[in-house]
């Protein structure tokens, strides 16, 4: 019953979405506000309907309805309740339901905003949002249906369909196969929802951009409306990426956080274009320029969001041949192609009306530096995109599989990331419209001088790697410039208004949260950069097989193997847990417990490191192998990861900065300035 309810709600949501698309287009075509309002209500209705569907699926997951193939594939009796619930996004069909639910949540939130002054956008925002939602509902209902039951035919054969075949009985299992062990981690509970939230939230600015194109609004109204939506999307996407990195560090057992895996890159690409967009829209807001480019960026971001989902869901990454065999792969491919071509065609048709009157007046102005920043983001995007799809092209053309791994990406992107750090330091000092070397030099010499102390100190301290020295200087430069900007602003207020420095700082940040939130984000990026430099340049590792009482040494640490226990757990795991003692420079630092879990149901091992974590470094110990009978000897792999915790600290600062930037301003009138009265509202009146 509950399963039929869940599927039925999905089907109704699909029909309601189709109706909403039709009503919005018809209402706009005939200029009948009632039809557009009806479309708006239809869009509102999708959220409760998909909520019913998602809740039904969660009920089935939590209560072991193993007659559903999806439930059987991602849950088992031994799994705790929270994992059964989060198994909603543990498999393909469920994650598509989750995607649809989040999208309906965001589109509903958009629907509930006040539309009085932007009524002309409404029908097209509805159309774009519902077309996207309809596509995902088609996938869920017709291709990857999580509510499909297993049926046993009279012949004994088991088939998976929604409707019972003639003479068939429901095929009941006593237990499911369980969730992929790698996904049974707290990080994986939060990471996918954050990523999906980021993905779906970018649909909102895209929908407004398309609405602006269709209605031929050449002003920056769509950007101002969606500014906070974009920041929220970016916040969730960033959070998803950081949490994904942390999950990889904790669970994948290879001592790193980012492996340039295509799945990681799939989530990183829309972040790149989204970040470029966040910078570029400021040029349009301040100077009325870059209108075409902003449209290109948001179209790219939307396409990359769908492309990212396509990459991870179509099977194309394992092989182009499995893509061809995949049911949803070709549909995704067609949807991306159609939306991309339609969006670009629309942009080209509005090309002339989007031409800006503003002109660049300086190679060193703030807007020019933002354009260099965009160039670098696009450069990194090209590297990532090409690196991901080249193996597929190569397989198609030559029939041979190849790997494009970290060396390619690191070599091609490292200089560009360094360039971005430099721009992050210089751009806040540049004025809009016009800056010269002299004006920039006047503003920059003090923070530059202070920042140069850092490379001097690290060189005196014995550091000789040029890449690390350059990286640390760039980090110091950005920190000095950012803090200097806070200082200058607060001092200016202090002198003019007589405010105390903390009050001046608080009020300064409060007057433009986006600007100062952005500076906090920059500080977060710098902290992350320090962590990345630490692990990329200074990481070391060692491996050895030890008898009990024997030790391995690395970077001053001595790790001594003490004991090993192998036992089964009640939830179907075989655990091999080692105890090692850690000393540094003769000082006992305590014990670590690296272990290897083997999940019987999934027949999959999982390596959980024992980690001693400080801001200086991480000692990351992995149990690689052991003598199965005596457990007297074991092989350990040990990584020394300097500064890696700065990466996580930077992630937190980064997120805090984004929250500051996205926090609503009290003074809404300032945001509403420069807005012309929409023509549709007049028509309606």
């Amino acid at each position: 019953m509950i399963i039929d309810l869940g599927y039925g709600a999905l089907v109704i949501a699909f029909l309601v979405s189709l109706y909403g698309i039709f009503a919005a287009i018809y209402g706009e075509w005939k200029k009948k506000a009632a039809w557009v309002e009806s479309a708006r209500l239809a869009m509102l209705l999708t959220f409760p309907l998909i909520t019913i569907s998602a809740a039904s699926l969660i009920y089935a997951l939590a209560n072991g309805h193993y007659e559903l193939e999806y439930v059987a594939s991602v849950t088992s009796n031994s799994m705790p309740l929270y994992l059964k619930v989060t198994a909603l996004w543990g498999g393909q069909a469920g994650s598509l339901v989750f995607w649809s639910w989040l999208l309906s949540l965001f589109t509903t939130a958009v629907t509930l905003r006040k539309w009085d002054r932007d009524r002309e956008f409404l029908p097209w925002v509805i159309v774009v949002s519902l077309v996207t939602l309809t596509f995902f509902l088609i996938l869920v209902i017709f291709v990857e249906n999580p509510f499909a039951r297993l049926w046993q035919l009279p012949s004994g054969q088991v088939v998976e369909t929604m409707v019972a075949p003639a003479g068939a009985q429901v095929f009941l299992r006593a237990d499911g196969r369980g969730l992929n062990p790698l996904l049974r981690h707290p990080g994986m509970v939060i990471h996918p929802p954050m990523l999906y939230l980021g993905f779906v939230a970018f649909v909102v600015p895209f929908a407004f951009a398309i609405a602006a194109l269709v209605t031929n609004r050449a002003d920056d109204r769509w950007i101002r409306i969606t500014r906070r939506w974009t920041l929220v999307a970016w916040l969730f996407l960033s959070l998803g990426l950081v949490l994904g990195g942390r999950w990889a560090y904790d669970v994948l057992g290879w001592g790193g956080y980012w492996g340039w895996d295509p799945v990681e890159i799939a989530a990183f690409m829309p972040w790149l274009t989204g970040t470029a967009f966040l910078h570029s829209v400021m040029i349009q807001e301040k100077r009325g320029m870059m209108k075409h480019w902003n449209m290109v960026l948001i179209i790219l971001t939307y396409s990359l969001v769908i492309f990212g989902t396509f990459l991870t869901r179509s099977g194309v990454l394992s092989s182009v041949h499995s893509f061809a065999q995949s049911a949803i792969g070709p549909l995704f491919f067609a949807f991306i192609a159609i939306t991309f071509i339609v969006s670009l065609s629309l942009l080209i048709s509005r090309w002339d009306s989007l031409k800006s009157k503003g002109q660049m007046t300086s190679l060193l102005s703030r807007e020019a530096l933002f354009m260099y920043n965009n160039l670098l983001f696009m450069g990194i995007l090209v590297v990532c995109f090409w690196g991901v799809i080249f193996p597929l092209i190569s397989e198609l053309v030559t029939g041979q599989k190849i790997t494009v791994g970290p060396p390619f990406y690191e070599r091609a992107t490292a200089p560009q990331f360094a360039g971005l750090l430099l721009l992050m330091g210089v751009a806040p000092l540049a004025a809009w419209r016009h800056s010269t070397f002299k004006t920039l030099g006047r503003a920059a010499w003090k923070p530059t001088l202070v920042s140069l102390l850092v490379p001097v100190i690290v060189i005196i301290g014995g550091l000789r790697q040029p890449a690390a020295i350059l990286g640390f200087w760039l980090a110091a430069f950005v920190v000095c410039v950012t803090l200097y900007e806070f200082w200058r602003g607060a001092m200016a207020r202090h002198r003019r208004a007589g405010e105390s420095l903390p009050v001046a700082l608080w009020r300064l940040a409060g007057r433009n949260r986006r600007r100062y939130g952005g500076y906090i984000i920059h500080l977060g990026v710098v902290l992350m950069a320090i962590g990345i430099i630490g692990i990329e340049v200074f990481q070391s590792e060692t491996q050895g097989t030890l008898a009990q009482g024997e030790s391995l040494t690395i970077q001053g640490y001595t790790v001594t193997f003490e004991s090993l226990n192998v036992f089964d757990t009640s939830e179907g795991r075989n655990v091999a847990r080692a105890v090692v003692n850690v000393e540094k420079d003769g000082r006992n630092l305590g014990e670590l417990y690296p272990r290897r879990d083997y999940y019987y149901e999934a027949q999959q091992p999982m390596t959980i490191p024992g980690v001693r974590s400080t801001m200086e470094d991480d000692l990351y110990v992995l149990l690689v192998d052991w003598e199965p009978i005596s457990t007297q000897g074991a092989t350990f792999k040990i990584y020394h990861n300097p500064l890696v915790n700065w990466l996580w600290l930077g992630g937190i600062v980064f997120i805090l900065g984004t929250l500051v930037a996205a926090w609503p301003n009290k003074d809404k009138e300032a945001v509403r300035s420069r807005v012309s009265r929409p023509r549709y509202a007049a028509t309606k009146a």
Binding site: M360, T361, F390, G405, Q416, R442, Q543
Partner: protein, 165 residues
């Protein structure tokens, strides 16, 4: 005006050259490899440059499967027989194809993987150059001699930016 355009052209030509050089130059990340007793560290130094031939995107040194453990033992065996890193990598390529390498060999069709990003970035620089071609000379007021004191200028600019957020 011509002078400004020349400056723009020069800057972009410089950027293009730097961009291409940065992409093409291979930083010296290579590690010292000395054949000798095949310890785990020596095995891993080679294994980390190879990818598991059957798994997706997992370097051989960290792959937890039994097959990969056997391949690591194969590397140990080859090292003990006096093979060097290049020979072992070549052996794996011959056995399992180029997919075991962490980057495609720079030959034949695979050249494209290295060339296209550089070409893409050059196109980006060219587009930026076109955008700057219409660079308009700034008004004289902000030329050096007429510059106000830095702090006054800064306060005015800050106020302007905060007003127009």
């Amino acid at each position: 005006m011509n002078f400004t355009r020349r400056k723009v052209s020069f800057l972009f030509a410089l950027m293009a050259m730097i961009g291409v050089l940065l992409i093409l130059i291979n930083p010296a990340y290579a590690q010292d490899e000395t054949p000798g007793t095949p310890t785990d560290n020596e095995v891993n130094a080679i294994a980390k440059q190879l990818y598991c031939p059957v798994c997706e995107n997992i370097p051989l040194d960290v792959c937890p499967t039994q097959a990969c453990a056997e391949w690591r033992e194969l590397i140990r065996l080859k090292l003990s027989e006096g093979w060097d890193e290049g020979q072992i990598k070549q052996y794996f390529v011959e056995q399992y194809g180029a997919r075991v390498l962490s980057s495609p060999p720079a030959s034949g069709f695979n050249w494209l993987v290295y060339i296209i990003p550089a070409v893409g970035i050059l196109i980006g620089i060219f587009l930026l150059y076109k955008a700057f071609q219409s660079l308009r000379a700034p008004l004289k007021v902000d030329e050096e001699d007429d510059l106000p004191e830095v702090d006054d200028d800064y306060v005015a600019r800050l106020e302007d930016e905060l007003r127009n957020r």
